[in-house]
């Protein structure tokens, strides 16, 4: 299948890319890994007159640690994330999520930046971005700005980025020492989008009280969402079997899943979400005791 005709641009720097984005605005789209954009173009679901291929823009492909935070360039691939020693040591949740995306060939091309910008309601990175309370740097005509993960997703396939803006990096605070993580994903078959996905990050004080709770959920609402009530419920409490069970119930209550003939009814997804939050919190709790 062939897409409609488009003009192809391959800038060699971010400056060159921004000249094009300014000139073509909403008639231009960034090509990152292409794992969503190319299928959409090919199937003619969308038609974009100008495609700006970012694959040769070197400044977008770095993973760096700076001042207690990790910065992941928007063109860093899922493969590079999965194999990053720095990420494994500093923010293991990111590495765990990366392994659940698509299949090996998709992970070899796909990028975290591209996935977030595409904003699929069942994307894996959305849940992770919210659970870790990351933020994204975007650059546009009027310069650079930061978008907090809480403000990033506006609707299905719709983000707070304006036309002509380009995401350059995603920034994550490094969790404290006594913390644990988990990504639980139910998929219908290998490589499928999530039926439900839950990313959990918690920190526990020396006294055993929860000092950070991040729960990001995907495929249970028009966008990936944070379970704010369950997070608030956990803060300051001892995370044991009862609090976990209660938190999972609260989290499931915050979802608005859709009936879907392929992946199950809303009721089914809400139930699965409760199970996955419970399992995710239990695993994160275990891992906070020092087990990777």
């Amino acid at each position: 299948m062939f897409s409609e005709e488009f003009e192809y641009f391959r800038p060699k720097s971010l400056d060159e890319a921004m000249v094009l984005m300014k000139k073509y605005g909403e008639n231009a789209r960034v090509l990152a890994g292409g794992m969503s954009l190319i299928p959409l173009l090919k199937s003619r679901v969308i038609s974009i007159p100008n495609i700006v291929d970012m694959s040769r823009v070197p400044e977008l492909s770095k993973i760096e640690e700076r001042q207690g935070e990790i910065r992941i360039g928007s063109m860093v691939t899922d493969y590079e994330i999965e194999n990053s020693k720095l990420l494994y040591e500093k923010i293991s949740l990111i590495k765990e999520v990366s392994g659940w995306i698509g299949d090996p060939q998709v992970r070899n091309r796909g990028t975290m930046g591209g996935s977030l910008c595409h904003a699929d309601p069942s994307g894996d990175w959305g849940a992770c971005f919210l659970a870790l309370r990351g933020r994204a740097t975007v650059i546009g005509d009027k310069g650079e700005r930061t978008i907090e993960s809480d403000d990033f997703f506006e609707d299905s396939y719709t983000t707070a980025m304006k036309s002509g803006e380009v995401m350059t990096e995603i920034i994550f605070p490094i969790p404290e020492k006594r913390s644990g993580y988990s990504y639980k994903k139910m998929e219908r078959k290998a490589g499928d989008f999530a039926t439900v996905g839950v990313a959990v990050q918690i920190s526990i004080s020396e006294k055993g009280e929860c000092t950070y709770a991040g729960i990001g959920m995907t495929a249970v609402a028009p966008t990936p969402i944070r379970s704010r009530k369950a997070e608030a419920f956990l803060m300051g409490k001892k995370v044991d079997e009862n609090t976990v069970r209660e938190a999972a119930k609260i989290a499931a209550g915050e979802t608005e899943p859709m009936d879907d003939p392929l992946r199950g009814s809303a009721e089914f997804k809400r139930y699965i979400c409760e199970v996955l939050v419970r399992r995710g919190l239990n695993e994160a709790m275990e891992r906070s005791k020092g087990v990777k």
Partner: protein, 168 residues
């Protein structure tokens, strides 16, 4: 202010240079042409198959700059200044590659349609992970569909290939 003039661009025809199976090729392609069509139709390398054409089945898998990719989900222009390996690169002087040999010995194929993509994925996977266990093998081929074998003999073939190659 950056000049637009130096940026690689085009609507109808873009000239690309690539190394395919060790040979340098120079061709003009339309930007919307997919990599798999370039490989099959421009270069005549029909060992790479088009299965689902929706990046699910993996029959079109080739190795692009050292990483396995689905060539139905890349543009031909992206091959510019790149190195691509297809199934045709594996046999050397009449000798099958160890993965191909293992497929033959272990009945790792029936109809053969998925085989080129499956073998290219496995060739890449074994470079990354020379001694995989069964779980890792199954995870490693999760982007390739086979409708005949039930995967069992493919998994056996990968184990056999990893043993042969490990001895080298």
């Amino acid at each position: 202010m950056m000049q637009e003039g130096s940026i690689t661009r085009g609507t109808h025809r873009i000239k690309i240079h690539a190394r395919i199976n060790g040979k340098t090729v120079e061709e003009e392609v339309e930007p919307r042409m997919l990599l798999v069509h370039f490989i099959r139709e421009k270069l005549g390398l029909t060992g790479t198959h088009i299965g689902c054409d929706t990046s699910n089945c993996g029959a079109c898998t080739v190795i692009y700059n050292g990483k396995s990719v689905k060539s139905c989900t890349m543009l031909a222009v992206q091959a510019d200044e790149s190195e691509i390996e297809t199934i045709e690169s594996l046999e050397k002087d009449g000798h099958l590659n160890p993965v191909q040999e293992a497929f033959r010995e272990n009945h790792g194929l029936q109809c053969g349609f998925c085989t080129p993509g499956m073998i290219m994925e496995i060739a890449w996977f074994l470079r990354e992970n020379p001694h995989p266990n069964e779980d890792q093998i199954r995870w490693g081929i999760s982007g390739n569909m086979c409708r005949c074998t039930g995967y069992q003999n493919i998994v056996e073939s990968v184990k056999a290939a990893s043993e042969t190659m490990g001895g080298e």
